[in-house]
Symmetry: C2
Subunit: 335 residues, 2 copies
């Protein structure tokens, strides 16, 4: 029987920490994913309006292919500064690549941002957007426990016409192999089926983690296959205005190229949990990280393991998306 890790969070992967910083006045925030050291990392960008930093450093054919931390942020292009805050803070702690003694440590901090500029918060920041400081605060807050729902990078997010937010989930595959996902959901598409109650991700739910709602036995019409503007995200269809930002992590020993494959397969988790996904109006981006504590061997068995991890990562990402919306809805309902 497959089961979530003890926390059902991506931090069930040992060595991984997550922290949020939220600015309620701005209605936005930052989420930092901190690795115990530089871990092999890959990225896959599939949205038509992405906002990213340091993705090229993770290309398998390039030199580095590792990350010390990953930043998910609100604030559109201004949110990219959060990674600067994180990189500077890490370097001051001596964390980063050291190319020669005495020069600053160089942390690799890939980042992706979502657009929440139109959500009604105070964005009159002039020349001083808050994201650099939020990045440093979120890093400072990083630990094994973190909140889900309308917090951090997900504070200003919307999932279609509903509140979006931060979700996470994990799975224990046995033998020390843990896979987890964390996501900030700000999608054009909906996480709910057209009945308005069943999550697209329902087949992947474990232990009622997002309410346990199953689809009705016979559904007459699953809705517009090519949703029009009004059905989807009223007034939010601006290029790059919507995004599902995810990261998956595992305890396996993966190369950068294998992390890239896992990130690619994890995008299927977005496809299954949000419809539509990967449109011109989404900036969908998924990072994958590997703590490298579980060896996988070589040859065909290794490729099987990588594919299994990718499949589990997709399931975790689907579950994390549903949990994000479920938790944010619960928060709205309790206010």
């Amino acid at each position: 029987m497959y089961r979530p890790g003890p926390k059902n969070l991506i931090t069930d992967v040992p060595g991984f920490a997550v922290g949020h910083a939220t600015d309620e006045r701005v209605q936005s925030g930052v989420t930092v994913l901190a690795c115990a050291k530089d871990w092999p990392a890959g990225v896959d960008v599939r949205g038509g309006g992405p906002g990213t930093r340091e993705t090229e450093a993770l290309a398998p054919e390039n030199l580095i292919g590792r990350a010390h931390a990953v930043v998910l942020a609100g604030g559109s292009v201004f949110g990219l500064a959060a990674a600067d805050g994180v990189a500077t803070a890490l370097s001051a702690q001596g964390i980063g690549l050291t190319l020669r003694p005495g020069s600053p440590a160089i942390p690799i901090v890939p980042a992706a941002v979502l657009h929440d500029l139109g959500n009604g918060g105070d964005k009159a920041w002039g020349l001083e957007p808050p994201y650099r400081a939020l990045g440093a605060s979120a890093l400072h807050a990083a630990g094994p426990d973190f909140a889900l729902g309308s917090v951090g990078a997900g504070r200003g997010a919307m999932a279609g016409l509903m509140k979006g937010g931060i979700g996470s989930a994990s799975i224990d595959l046995g033998g020390g192999l843990i896979v987890g996902a964390v996501v900030a959901v700000n999608s054009v598409g909906s996480a709910l089926m057209p009945d308005g109650t069943t999550y697209w991700a329902w087949p992947f739910e474990l232990n009622g983690e997002f309410g346990g709602s199953k689809p009705p036995g016979a559904q007459a019409d699953m809705g517009n296959p090519a949703p029009d503007e009004s059905r989807l995200a009223q007034g939010r269809l601006l290029p790059g205005a919507n995004t599902t930002l995810g990261a998956v992590a595992c305890s396996a020993e993966l190369t950068t190229a294998e992390c890239t494959r896992v990130a690619m397969m994890a995008q299927d988790g977005i496809a299954r949990a949000v419809r539509p996904a990967h449109s011109l109006f989404d900036g969908d981006t998924v990072f994958a990280l590997a703590s490298c504590t579980v060896a996988l061997g070589e040859g065909r068995q290794r490729a099987i393991h990588v594919s299994r991890i990718g499949s589990a990562a997709a399931d975790c990402l689907s579950r994390a998306i549903a949990r994000a919306v479920y938790r944010s809805r619960a928060q709205v309902a309790s206010q």
Copy 2:
């Protein structure tokens, strides 16, 4: 109410023709998708073991970005010769790019192949594999009507541990805008949920086109999130040995870059209909073609239209996958 086109086939897109050639002794075949003239075309390759031809000619930054026909073939690398048979036959008819008077017409025939070499058919072809001739035959057979199930490129295909095959579906979005998909399903993953009867694609089904089976109200365990070898495709986990090859077409006027986005979004149709998908053992490839009879305008509305077409293409591809398996199972049952 959204409905399929009159045939519920990709050939509901006017100007599009499909033909099969099947070699029962070899247990393999070829499917040719023929455009009325050179249409803008894009491609998206997401499997870890692809076998393709002329995909670079469809890159948006390259010169051509159009196709006269697309070939889906069995036979692994040997199947690529089918595109040669098609290109030669088209050129002899004067179809292709004409760079100077008197030189042969140059047809652009992108292709993708699936692996069916281990399916028990007679593969002792030595220096004369049958695929070049099968390509020419399939082109000759191309028309508005074509068979689904275990035929053409899908003759030797398997979907997980079940018979795979050819599927197709279409949708009429109104105003002359038709979207359709055709697919050859030879996936590692299964098109059925772990209950063994419900198609993953069930939410997208129209008019009972693949049997109308809905999921049970409460499913205790949706199965291994990281399926092991034995659960998935016994003995078939060879790199590149499994593949879902698809093409989507629409009647809209799209650029090559927009076709690429539609192909990318259509991959979500594979993710939703097959689990797992896009593994190292799949060669998943999707082409997108545009007949350019319906204008889309410019600006933000245009981007909305492209995203709607991509979403509809994903739904059609999910439906086509389920129809492929459904028809092939029915054929097996009737034998």
